[in-house]
Point group: C2
Chain length 240, copies 2
């Protein structure tokens, strides 16, 4: 039986949407958008509406929605939350619809929108995510958000951890150098993930902005069984 | 004293020329353009004129120049050479000017042309290259050619090897995740470079096309002391 294809993309600037129309695309932006989204679903959010423009987020706010919006890590003044996973607590989000606009994440969600399916990946949901991917008979692209179109270490290492699980199933094959490199970087990072991520530029940017309290949490595996997927442009639990 | 900045770019699609106007850019395309260029200089070529378009290469041929031209690894019918380093022997190239058009390489040379200086890097000239870079008081960008705008393993590992040497000098610092990842991948590859490169997609493409006889050679360190640099759009020995 022909194996499914596994690929990795290190930056939105390298993404080729026309190649992914039959694939599942997994968006990985672990510091912090994809970790925040997984946490929100773990805590019972009903749906998340991703929006690109700040003006659009403001309009939703005026119409009574809860709004999470940040730029360069900082909460925008009109918003209810920024994008620390610690913001999305059960008492705030359970049963709610949240509008979400981040520096990187929402643009990437739009970019990936022509794929067969789009899901959100992080260490927090890595086990459930791998199980869900394996249940689909599809090629997969691991899409690292990077930072301002540049490669980043933390998303790559997470892609490597997901890729390792998929390759172990023996259902996938890869001739993608990015995937092989991600798996190798994960093999270096795995014994001391927190120590390894210390050198990541984003880790240091968050430290300088005093926004780094959630990093240990974002590097925690198997926090939730939720796999957020996009349906009609909106993030929902894949089981819905 | 402020250290010089060291960065790495994994693909032409990620290159931002406006950021490099004061930097030295090192073009790395080891399978096979940058290895072929270093070999040609080792064997006494006077200059190499990089051209992008096949039609332009044909015009030079009609005017009596030696022409190296390939697309996807194969020599074009009108050309004197392809881009195997083994083509650029002393008896063929010594004292000559060669016109060179490759799938990837020449486009990248043009892309980098607004940098302060542009040089050609490979394992073949790694020692001399590092020495030359250290003699310049400049920020450096290691520019991996990749393959059709995608990340590739072989250029990344070579960038990691160059970066390691520069970082050891203590004259450079980096907050660039790509550089840190390249150094880590080099640390995995270094004990058995030929074995490691076996998994690279380009290694397998060259095998399928029976163009892989030169790979061991391309992975040889310190074959030549030549550092080809671009002056007025033409590749020459940096000592000229």
């Amino acid at each position: 039986m022909a194996k499914r294809k596994l690929e990795t993309c290190f930056s939105p600037a390298l993404y080729q949407s026309e190649e992914q129309s039959n694939s599942i695309v997994i968006i990985i932006d672990i510091l912090r958008a994809s970790s925040a989204i997984c946490t929100a679903f773990a805590n019972g959010v009903s749906a998340i509406i991703p929006v690109g423009e700040i003006s659009e987020a403001k309009e939703y706010k005026a119409r009574g929605f809860l709004v999470a919006a940040e730029r360069d890590g900082f909460v925008l003044d009109f918003a209810d939350f920024g994008n620390s996973p610690f913001n999305f607590t059960k008492d705030k989000v359970e049963g709610k619809i949240i509008v979400y606009s981040t520096t990187n994440g929402t643009g990437i969600i739009n970019l990936a929108s022509s794929a067969y399916k789009v899901a959100i990946g992080s260490f927090l949901n890595i086990g459930a995510l791998a199980k869900w991917i394996l249940s689909q008979d599809r090629d997969v692209l691991l899409f690292c958000a990077g930072w301002k179109n540049k490669f980043n270490i933390e998303d790559t290492v997470c892609a490597g951890a997901i890729a390792e699980r998929l390759m172990e199933s023996n259902l996938y094959s890869t001739i993608c150098d990015s995937t092989l490199a991600a798996i190798d970087l994960w093999s270096i990072a795995n014994p001391d993930l927190r120590g390894y991520i210390e050198k990541a530029a984003q880790r240091n940017r968050l430290r300088e902005k005093k926004l780094d309290d959630c990093i240990d949490f974002c590097l925690t595996s198997e926090f939730t069984e939720k796999v957020p997927v996009i349906k009609n442009g909106i993030l929902v639990d894949n089981l819905l």
